[in-house]
Subunit: 147 residues, 2 copies
Amino acid sequence: MPRQATQDIETRIAALLKRCDLSVTDSRRKILQLFLEQPGALAHGDIERKAGEKFDRVTVYRTLQTFVEKGIIHTIPTADNSIRYALCKDECSGGHHHDHHIHFVCSQCDNTYCLDDVVTPDIKLPKGYQAEHVEVVVEGVCKNCKA
Amino acid sequence: MPRQATQDIETRIAALLKRCDLSVTDSRRKILQLFLEQPGALAHGDIERKAGEKFDRVTVYRTLQTFVEKGIIHTIPTADNSIRYALCKDECSGGHHHDHHIHFVCSQCDNTYCLDDVVTPDIKLPKGYQAEHVEVVVEGVCKNCKA
DNA sequence: TATGAAAAGGCAACATAGTTGCAAAATCTA
DNA sequence: TAGATTTTGCAACTATGTTGCCTTTTCATA
């Protein structure tokens, strides 16, 4: 890997953490890098497996929790009861998430993607119900698996 | 409680179980009754608390699993990683769920409802993605809590 | 309504997931 | 670079979910 590129990512990570008033630590750098390195979402298990050799389980939990609070990542509910995390777009900040995009879970490769260009639809609710947040998860076959 | 009504529910429960090729046992009767008695969805924890004194934890797990397989109940994904279960409408059978309705989670009372009259919208996906199933969960304030 | 095969339940033990308190280590401010 | 503050690691614990095996219950049929 060219040194320049590495430097860029490192700088970008540190800047993002500082912008969120978080001190720059090894575990945060590493976990953030995992998210930046790949397009889809990560389950807690994935992260623990990829970062767990270097860091304690508890640290992973706490780091993810902090990232969610700071609006760096958001959670994606899935049917199999395994929460997944994905990077938020830049507009999210201070726990105030603006993620009105939908999520896509591939039934073949099991990857989860944020489809940032697909906005959650307006849902007409029965009288008396008041919507605050709409979560849409589509299951199907993703771009890569649809050979 | 009038004897007639009790008899009716018992009969209804036994009939439903038999229709699904399930033998009629105490735990299945009890757990099914919990679902029939109340409008919203139940988390595993709720069921274990309400039925757990009489039945083993493992039995509760296996019963719920069986009910899902047979299309008696379906699962509802939520953001807090606690799967909830709700009765299917009659059309569901043999693991072949037809639940195209949306789900509503109240942020105040934390109850979950199936809004059977609200159909999941069509979602326009980017090129290459193929939808198989769409899950919509709306969070907000429910009928009863909106004083 | 008695009986035996098949299904379901209970128990124990285990595996995984998530939480809490506290002392040690790293980070940041100045 | 020193000290206050934050973060981490460890240990212990609770909660959640699974598996194997033996006992009990259910149900079809005689």
